[in-house]
């Protein structure tokens, strides 16, 4: 605490190409198919003609062992061999942490053009909740399901701030409205408050529409220095990385007596670091793709990211603040609510969306004249938070 970080990657990294698959039930495709599809999309966007020659290194976000271990998963999918390729795992922030590592390799001058990507193949394990809970963790210490973990925030917020299930429902309705317009979203259906309220319970008070779905997908970004970016396809509108921060807190917040459960320190810390690095405040953020794994998470995020004061997320939603035409559109893509959450892919998918929004070529709803876009991941038991701020080329 109190240590001032001198280093910065602000304006040193340019995103020159982005790609993503359609997210959803990709029964006929495996992880290699998905990854290759997203990467091909990104290469085409960037104007990469000879990947083996032009791409110096790869970082790939993957959470689950069954999606693939080691850098070999990405190397095999893309058929780039003999280069530095690394698998990155950091819970739901795996994809954005892959991007972070990729940024550092370019910023250090070691690599010129690198690929950051992420993929997860969840549906082969079944669609009812995240798999793996039998395999990892302590034999008997309780391990709640992901929705149950985030319910701890809901129960506390309900008790402390008087929020209701209907407040949560507004998040789902908003994101489904946005996602309805996005061709790559898993769910493209508008829903009502009543739909949300009447849906079957997953972890009280979170019902089916309060939870993001299991989904397959992949996303990829090609990054380089602003100088090299000038000779690629998006020379005129490449996007600059303004800041990138990651903060890791405990895997076991329920053993920490001071933990409030109405705010996540990991997000608060990562946001603070990112705003400092970018030299902006939360006010300057034009729009955000935030981690809405559950509706309650999005409400807590508004506060942790400094968009609004603690305890006011319900009011902000009622006022329309995070709507597409509101003060600060949140999840214009439809978020995890509509894309689902293939863990390793999500962080890269958010950066894909932010890049396209800043370039004015959003496939879904376009945010009006954005200057800064913020992407945020939150993973585990609120353990890992990652915040990236992107801005337009000067």
């Amino acid at each position: 605490m109190g240590h001032i970080r001198k280093g910065s990657i602000k304006d040193k990294i340019a995103i020159i190409g982005v790609g993503a698959t359609k997210f959803g039930e990709q029964w006929e495709k495996n992880q290699h198919d998905l990854l290759l599809e997203a990467v091909n999309d990104a290469f085409a966007d960037a104007g990469i003609k000879d990947p083996q020659e032009e791409i110096d290194a790869i970082w790939c976000g993957i959470q689950y062992y069954f999606t693939g271990l080691s850098g070999g998963t990405a190397a095999d999918a893309i058929k780039i061999y003999g280069k530095p390729v690394t698998r990155v795992e950091n819970y739901c922030a795996s994809g954005m942490d892959a991007f972070r590592n990729a940024c550092f390799s370019v910023a250090s001058g070691k690599e010129d053009i690198v690929l950051a990507c992420g993929v997860e193949k969840l549906m082969d394990e079944g669609s009812a909740g995240l798999p793996g809970f039998k395999e990892f963790g302590h034999p008997v210490l309780p391990l709640p399901s992901a929705p149950a973990m985030f319910c701890f925030a809901a129960s506390r917020s309900f008790a402390k701030y008087g929020w209701t299930k209907e407040d949560l429902a507004r998040v789902a309705v908003k994101n489904h409205f946005n996602g309805y317009h996005h061709p790559k979203a898993h769910f493209r259906r508008k829903i009502t408050i009543e739909d949300v309220m009447n849906a079957p319970m997953i972890a009280d008070p979170l019902g089916r529409y309060d939870c993001c779905a299991m989904s397959d997908g992949s996303a990829a970004l090609v990054i380089t220095t602003p100088e090299i970016a000038e000779s690629y396809a998006h020379a005129k509108d490449y996007v600059l990385v303004k800041a990138n921060a990651i903060s890791v807190h405990t895997n076991f917040p329920w053993y920490k007596p001071s933990y409030s459960f109405v705010g996540f320190p990991s997000t608060q810390e990562a946001a603070k670091m990112a705003y400092e690095e970018a030299g902006i405040t939360a006010k300057d953020v034009s729009f955000a793709e935030v981690h809405d794994c559950f509706t309650i998470t999005e409400m807590v995020n508004y506060q942790d990211l400094g968009f609004i004061p603690p305890g006011t997320a319900n009011e902000w939603l009622k006022e329309g603040g995070p709507m597409i035409d509101g003060e600060k559109p949140v999840n214009p893509s439809g978020g995890l609510k509509c894309f689902g959450h293939p863990i390793g892919a999500t962080g890269c998918r958010m950066l894909y969306e932010c890049t396209k929004q800043l370039q004015g070529r959003a496939e879904g709803l376009q945010v009006k004249d954005p200057e800064y876009g913020l992407a945020h991941n939150l993973g585990g038991a609120f353990t890992v938070a990652s915040v990236t701020i992107l801005g337009k080329k000067e």
């Binding site: 034999p139 008997v140 399901s145 008790a159 972890a203 329920w254 053993y255 007596p257």
Partner: protein, 488 residues
């Protein structure tokens, strides 16, 4: 001098009315209930609950216990001692003698004989005996009317305590009465009339008569008689054969509770201690138990009995608080008598469970010497708040309040016995942890709810018994949902 110093009775949360069984199988109707334990309970976990009551009301440091006898016909392990699990949870001394007494409903009184002899000989001072059973009757048989679940514990000490033990008389008898072979799922019984006449009545009478002769007791001298009950009619016949007055007879618990196997005789005795009119100093008590023979004991009340009884929630009150299983299918589910989705099992390692035993079994946490935070578990040996490695291990309390919770319908991506209340609990005196709630209506959970910890079977991952704590609503904790608003 040997006496019973204190006692404990564990009555599980649920009861099944016998009429549910009658309706399920078109049997002749029978009155009353049988007590049913939850899915996460077995003889070890029920024994722990009874033992805690006995130790706490005895006001005895568990380190003063010289021997632990665990008596059951349903031990979770047949190779590997079960008493050591209980000793670990109770934090008994490592030179405390641990014994499993099994195979017969008489196990509890056999342990009492051993305890009496060890203490009489001056070899030991305090002995904990705990008896528990969770027996399965043959499905679609009227024996389903009989078997209840439960546990009882006695602390036997080298002073008079609440009732002094003057001596015993024991007889053995070979008869294949109720039996269960290696690998059998449920207890079998054949000609109950032979068992009743030549086994139960014959032996119980023989043991008590032998005892009365040994101590020159006449029926009119007996203030109270408490003995194992195979069925209420035969229970009365034994009293008649011994010419004991009906007034002296303890409640046999059969009607409302059922036959709790090895725990039953202790439970009937404890009921007798609590029964009105109160037992006075020097009142003569006959206590007997049956199973492959019978054991009879001559007890006398002491001046401490009435005060001791007041420390306890009475057995009858515990029975009154049980919750009824509305359907016979609930009973089948609670007993795993129907093939359902496989129970949730996590990967386990006996190495991990052994290494972590201190905090898993005994709720050991620590206090940070730098910032003062009391915390759990000892999984990591540095402070979760300030990172200091300067810590002092500390026994945490087994009561607390719900800080936040959720009702989890997803157990390992499967819908299985849900929702499970997942509770972040702040323990009284410090320490916070995550516990599943059991023995509850999940929808009663609220922020601020007082809870108590209960030792339960979690799963059988790794092929062995994985035990840990859960929480359950504390006495009087269940309130309407509106309490949630007050809690903030």
């Amino acid at each position: 001098m040997v006496g019973i110093r204190s006692y404990g009775v564990y009555v599980p949360k649920y009861k099944l009315p016998r009429k549910s069984i009658a309706e399920a199988w078109d049997f002749p109707k029978a009155p009353g209930n049988i007590t049913i334990s939850n899915q996460d309970e077995d003889s070890v976990t029920m024994a722990v609950a009874a033992a805690f009551e006995a130790l706490e009301t005895a006001n005895i440091d568990p380190k003063e216990i010289d021997a632990l006898y665990f008596c059951t016909t349903t031990p979770p392990y047949t190779e590997k001692q079960n008493a050591t699990t209980i000793a670990s949870v109770l934090a008994l001394r490592d030179d405390c003698l641990t014994v499993d007494v099994t195979d017969t409903t008489r196990a509890a009184s056999i342990a009492l004989i051993n305890a009496f002899d060890s203490i009489s000989a001056g070899k030991m001072k305090n002995i904990l005996i705990v008896a528990a059973d969770k027996r399965y009757a043959e499905p679609i048989s009227m024996y389903e009317y009989q078997y209840g679940d439960g546990a009882a514990a006695l602390v036997v000490s080298s002073d008079d305590g609440i009732a002094k033990i003057n001596g015993y008389h024991s007889v053995n008898y070979e008869l294949v009465g109720p039996w269960r072979k290696e690998g059998d799922h449920h207890t079998q019984q054949f000609e109950i009339k032979v068992e009743t006449k030549y086994g139960y009545i014959n032996n119980t009478v023989k043991a008590i008569k032998g005892l009365m002769e040994k101590f020159e007791l006449t029926p009119d001298m007996i203030k109270r008689a408490a003995y194992y009950c195979l069925d209420p009619r035969s229970y009365g016949r034994i009293a008649a054969a011994l010419k004991l007055s009906n007034k002296a007879l303890a409640d046999n618990l059969f009607l409302d509770h059922g036959n709790t196997g090895t725990a039953l005789a202790f439970q009937i005795l404890i009921g007798a201690f609590e029964q009105k009119p109160s037992i006075k100093q020097d009142d003569n008590i006959i206590f007997a138990n049956y199973g492959d023979g019978a054991d009879a004991f001559y007890l006398q009340g002491t001046e401490n009995l009435r005060a001791e009884v007041k420390k306890h929630t009475k057995l009858q009150k515990k029975l009154a608080k049980r919750q009824e299983l509305p359907k016979y299918t609930d009973f089948l589910k609670y007993r795993y008598l129907i093939k359902t989705k496989d129970p949730f099992v996590r990967k386990s390692s006996n190495v991990t469970m052994w290494r972590d035993a201190k905090f898993l079994n005994q709720m050991m946490g620590f206090k940070c010497n730098k910032c003062g935070t009391v915390q759990y578990p000892l999984l990591m040996k540095n402070c979760i708040e300030c990172g200091s490695q300067d810590i002092t291990p500390m026994q945490l309390k087994r009561t607390g309040k719900v800080f936040t919770y959720s009702l989890d319908h997803l157990i390992n991506c499967e819908y299985y016995q849900t929702p499970v209340p997942r509770c972040v609990v702040d323990l009284d005196g410090g320490g916070r942890l995550l516990l599943d709630m059991t023995d509850c209506n999940p929808y009663d959970t609220y922020v601020g709810m007082p809870v108590e910890l209960t030792f339960r079977k979690i799963h059988e991952g790794g092929g062995f018994m994985n035990y840990y704590w859960k929480c359950k609503p504390a006495e009087g904790a269940v309130k309407p949902k509106s309490a949630e608003k007050e809690a903030k």
